[in-house]
């Protein structure tokens, strides 16, 4: 049944509602403009069904934890359009800057591969023992920026594809998606890895029914399709039978051709609507944000092509009241083509502006994406209301929104945290030298000579420089003569990226390990960041939030350490067993704030520590290492280099043992030898009993 009014919804709310608590395994986002700091703090949390702190530093710590449970997250964005208000990320997720030879990388796609829980709450498993999965696909007009996700008027549409085991329903757009994914890959250099995209591709090929509807629609409804520039938009609309009917047409687009109205004319030629309404984009001051050339071309159109300047309902475009009583307008960034007649309507929803590059095929214009979706259930009639008299023209909106900037040095930088090496890749014309500066404009290193077409190691010194600089910011400046360009460094091997939090004491790390629920961890971090003081000493058995700090005995302290390591081992073995290898690797051999090597490093460097406590901590670590060696051989094979680093730390054990306050000649040395033996042996017995 048709609804009576257009109901807007928060984009974030749609994501959480669609996920409905399901575990995300693979996530791919694409965007033209990109603010990595905003994405990290406000979009990534949507993928997890847990609470996050309002304190940004605590939130980043929580995300650092949460991200370990996701196999792959990748963001593809147009390198020429890094958001001007972008904030540097600190978590080292995969961000792949791409550049197109024709037009821009303009599509805004969200793909989330999720595990399906079964009726009883456990994950539904496939014959191979892995959880059954579904793919959420969203196509939106919003860039991955604060204005895109929170402020602008945007449009969005989401669909879900179930695996063939869960549903044999035909999918009308699977083939479109399979065609689109290689186009995204093509925008990146040939030797680029695309693990996240490959997993989604594999799901679509292997796990989804290949049956698809033969016709464009059935029972008076249009099947959902994805437009991605398979051909020019008007021709594609004709192919999917949109042009076979007589419609009214409504267009919402913030950007138009600057010289003429070619895209609109060709669309009207193909679709021949009875009447066309076109939203008149406005600036904040109420003036029109339309190129004069477009206005003139519209005026010169034949009389039978009635195009009426119109506006969206005010309830969509107004935000809160200004102190002076005026409503402040929201910027309309939506791109929508609505074909309707009577009770039928079909919408093209996505990134496609009313411009020639957007309407071109992908090999000659932009790369765009839009869902074509039947919206007959939505509000009927016109959505746009005609303007009696369009306001006078004003300034055109910020070019950065939807067009590449004039100067772009086509250089990518990546940093491999495992090898601690920096690499560059240059794709442009001949250049002798390029400078690389940090975000404060301090020179880091130079690239000379500039080799084109492949990843080149920047050398030892550059590796050290960049590694240090990335701890402050991943946004750098590239200098070519007088031109300066901002780039985002792509980071790989994020488990080895030192955590941006390094101020936790060994006691605090153990408390984090002991935490029963994530909220306990959150509290430890909030206490730390908000008060800036030391967190109280280790309570027994990791019980937090209650009045247990008083009367901590020697037994409590040691029991606390054993308990923390026991929980640590449980978490690591669970992660290995459930296939979350990255999480296990990060905890056992990573450089995050609560990784085992970080704890050992801090313990070994402490000057005024209790030597017995240090010794016991290392002994527990040794026990964990032995357990992993004997029980998880496959895991050890995949993480050889990381475990070698851990072993290096454990080689400090004899030094810590020698620091024990033991008198030579008495039996204490014998006791320690016996104790170590029993300690490690008990683990073996416990393992055997398990």
């Amino acid at each position: 049944m048709a609804r009576s009014r257009i109901e807007p919804k928060e984009l974030s709310a749609e994501i959480t509602d669609r996920l409905d608590g399901r575990q995300v395994r693979v996530a791919v986002f694409t965007s033209f403009s990109f603010d990595p700091g905003f994405f990290e703090l406000h979009i990534l949390p949507l993928l997890f069904d847990r609470s996050f702190s309002q304190n940004e530093r605590v939130r980043r710590c929580q995300l650092e934890d949460a991200l370990r449970s996701v196999d792959n997250i990748a963001v593809y964005y147009d390198r020429s359009a890094l958001a001007q208000d972008a904030i540097s990320p600190q978590l080292g997720f995969e961000s792949i800057g791409v550049r197109r030879k024709t037009g821009v990388f303009h599509l805004k796609l969200i793909m989330l591969l999720v595990d399906e829980p079964s009726e009883d709450g456990e994950d539904e498993t496939t014959p191979s023992g892995q959880p059954d999965q579904s793919l959420l696909v969203g196509i939106v007009s919003a860039n991955l920026t604060r204005s895109g996700w929170w402020e602008n008027v945007e449009v969005a549409h989401f669909e879900e594809i179930a695996s063939v085991r869960a549903s044999s329903k035909k999918c009308s757009f699977r083939k479109d998606l399979l065609g689109l994914l290689p186009q995204i890959k093509k925008c990146a250099p040939e030797d680029e890895k695309h693990e996240a995209l490959d997993k989604i591709h594999e799901f679509l090929r292997e796990d989804v029914t290949t049956d698809r509807p033969v016709n464009a629609g059935a029972d008076g409804r249009q099947y959902t399709r994805i437009y991605y520039g398979q051909e020019e938009l008007p021709a594609w609309l004709s192919k999917v039978k949109i042009a076979s009917y007589r419609w009214n047409l409504e267009i919402v687009s913030p950007f138009f051709d600057k010289l003429g109205a070619r895209a609109l004319e060709r669309l009207l030629d193909e679709v021949t609507p009875d009447e066309t309404r076109l939203m008149f984009p406005k600036n904040d001051d109420g003036t029109g944000a339309v190129p004069e050339g477009f206005v003139k071309a519209l005026r010169d159109m034949p009389k039978d092509r009635t195009v009426t300047w119109s506006e969206l309902p005010p309830e969509l475009t107004q935000r809160g009241r200004h102190p002076d009583g005026r409503f402040t307008p929201r910027h309309v960034h939506a791109k929508l083509y609505r074909f309707w007649k009577g009770g039928y309507s079909v919408c093209l929803v996505g990134s496609v502006n009313l411009t020639t590059p957007a309407h071109s095929s992908y090999d000659s214009g932009n790369l765009e994406a839009a869902f074509l979706v039947d919206t007959s259930d939505s509000v009927g009639g016109w959505w746009l209301s005609p303007l009696n008299r369009p306001p006078r023209l004003g300034e055109l909106p910020d070019e950065a929104e939807d067009a590449p900037q004039e100067v772009c040095i086509d250089l990518s930088l990546k940093y491999d945290w495992r090898k601690r090496r920096a690499f560059y890749r240059y794709e442009g014309g001949k250049r002798e030298i390029l400078g690389v500066r940090d975000h404060t404009a301090m020179d880091l290193f130079t690239i000379q000579p500039v080799v084109s077409g492949k990843w080149i190691d920047c050398g030892d010194e550059a590796g050290v420089c960049l590694g240090k600089s990335l701890l402050s910011s991943s946004l750098l400046q590239v200098v070519d003569g007088e031109n300066i360009w901002r780039i985002l460094v792509r980071e790989e091997g994020s488990s080895q990226r030192p955590s941006f939090v390094s101020l936790l004491t060994p006691e605090e790390i153990l408390r984090m390990w002991s935490a029963v629920v994530p909220e306990h961890k959150q509290q430890v971090l909030e206490d730390k960041f908000e008060s800036g003081t030391e967190v109280p000493p280790m309570p027994p058995f990791g019980v937090l939030g209650k009045d247990t700090q008083k009367d901590v005995t020697i037994f409590d302290r040691f029991a606390g350490v054993y308990h923390a390591f026991e929980r640590f081992l449980k978490d690591v073995t669970e992660a290995i067993a459930t296939g979350h290898v990255r999480e296990a690797e990060t905890r056992l051999c990573g450089e995050k704030y609560d990784s085992l090597p970080v704890l050992l490093k801090k313990v070994s460097e402490r000057r005024d520590a209790d030597p017995v406590m240090n010794y016991v901590t290392f002994l527990c670590a040794k026990q964990i290492r032995e357990h992993v060696r004997s029980h998880h051989k496959e895991f050890c094979r995949t993480c050889t280099s990381g475990l070698e680093k851990l072993d290096e730390f454990l080689m400090l054990f004899p030094t810590l043992r020698s620091a024990l306050p033991l008198e030579p000649g008495d039996d204490s040395l014998k006791f320690v030898a016996w104790y170590e033996d029993m300690f490690l042996r008990r683990r073996k017995i416990a393992d055997r009993d398990e």
Partner: protein, 425 residues
């Protein structure tokens, strides 16, 4: 398909803060308001928080749940309370976080709603982070009502719930504990929702007024005794010399400061500091907003335009007074930024607008450097290169300058809470 609406998170997170003033006003504001934050403006929000924590503690005590369940129990309680307030005697429409979903769920399901911590049942898309748990817990902790950690209440909060609310929920105790510990369908017109509705009336009881006045409005349980003393007197001055409709602009703050001088010199001194700091932060903010609209314009032309618009200069800036506050500013924002602020204040106060524009650009650059990114505006050959236009807006009129006020200092939350309590006297 759908159009997107403005996300509530934008309001909670505040503006992008290009001049990094938030840590500065927070520092000065915390000397006056010990416990509240900008978003903790609902007494009933705190009531719900106390009930949720109390029920979780009780369920754990009775072994119906464990520590792990405390957040889930809280979220279910928050849902029940929201339904109770909306469908109860007051039929509350605003002042409920998640009111839109509450209304929709009640309508769609004829009053039979699911209470659960699953995302589909939540009254906010992200109830765990942006609901009362995320937004009110910190203020309640500062008020001395909650302990650190996710479980339980401090004795102050527990005793209050025990005496004020729990006796009125005795007849629905079992049902209520069942509802908050397990997923289930609840009729909003039946018990326990309606019993909750009765205790969550808009009108507070005398005991509630006494408790919330003491611990929320006057922050009697907070640790920072200096701020506690300030807060109690300040809330009294708000009651005595302002009214609920007062616009919190500079005029209102001056009035409070003037009155404070008669009764509490320490408070007057702290209010005076805020007046001094805001006299610089507010005009700096509006000029920077304006600069964002001035792409490609010459600095000289912008200075001339400022001179024309504000021929009498920017009032209220006192350099000697500001100098006294610079050490505190340096503590929160760093020495470099505090020096820029001082120079900028000097330029603005002396109507040297060209210099002020350049200094504002430097100020933003220094803030963005701390955030690991680039400046929003560059000055190239005497012209502005605006890299980010975002929140640019026109200048306010000269007549508005004497009362100009932009930042919260947490006093707006104190103002709202104060008048909520007064309405019920």
């Amino acid at each position: 398909m759908f159009f997107t609406k403005e996300d509530d998170r934008a309001k909670i997170q505040g503006s992008r803060d290009p001049l990094g003033v938030q840590p500065i006003w927070s520092y000065f504001g915390r000397r006056l308001v010990a416990n509240l934050t900008t978003v903790t403006t609902s007494i009933r929000g705190f009531t719900t928080l106390l009930l949720g924590r109390y029920l979780a503690e009780k369920a754990i005590e009775e072994r119906r749940a464990t520590d792990r369940d405390s957040l889930g129990i809280f979220l279910r309680t928050e849902q029940l309370c929201a339904y109770a307030r909306h469908t109860g005697p007051d039929k509350v429409e605003g002042d409920i976080r998640g009111i839109e979903r509450v209304k929709a769920f009640v309508e769609e399901n004829n009053g039979k709603v699911i209470i659960d911590d699953a995302p589909s049942c939540m009254i906010l898309s992200d109830q765990k982070t942006y609901g009362l748990w995320g937004l009110y817990s910190g203020a309640a902790r500062l008020s001395g009502l909650l302990p650190a950690g996710p479980v339980g209440l401090l004795s102050l909060g527990r005793e209050f719930v025990n005496s004020e609310y729990w006796p009125r929920l005795q007849n629905v105790e079992k049902e209520l504990l069942k509802n908050v510990t397990k997923r289930g369908i609840v009729n909003v017109l039946g018990d326990p929702v309606q019993s909750l509705g009765k205790i969550l009336r808009r009108r507070l009881t005398a005991t509630e007024i006494a408790f919330y006045s003491e611990y929320l409005r006057d922050a009697a349980g907070a640790q920072d005794r200096h701020a506690v003393q300030n807060q109690a007197t300040l809330s009294r001055l708000i009651r005595e010399h302002l009214d609920p409709e007062t616009l919190l602009d500079r005029k209102a703050f001056v009035e409070l400061w003037r009155r404070a001088k008669d009764v509490d010199l320490a408070l007057a001194e702290d209010l005076g500091r805020i007046l001094v700091v805001e006299s610089v932060l507010a005009p700096a903010g509006v000029v920077f907003d304006f600069l964002q609209t001035q792409n490609h314009q010459k600095v000289g032309d912008i200075a001339r335009r400022l001179d024309e618009e504000w021929p009498n200069g920017i009032p209220n800036i006192s350099l000697p007074d500001l100098s006294n506050q610079l050490p505190q500013m340096a503590e929160t924002s760093g020495a470099k930024i505090s020096e820029i602020i001082k120079a900028c204040a000097e330029a603005m106060g002396g109507q040297d607008y060209g210099n002020a524009v350049s200094l504002l650009i430097k100020w933003n650059e220094a803030i963005m450097e701390k955030r690991g990114t680039g400046p929003w505006i560059l000055e190239k050959s005497g012209r502005l290169d605006v890299r980010y236009r975002g929140e640019g807006r026109e200048l306010p009129e000269a007549e508005a300058l004497p009362d100009l006020w932009r930042n919260s200092y947490f006093i707006d939350a104190l103002f709202t809470i104060t008048w909520q309590l007064e309405d019920d006297q």
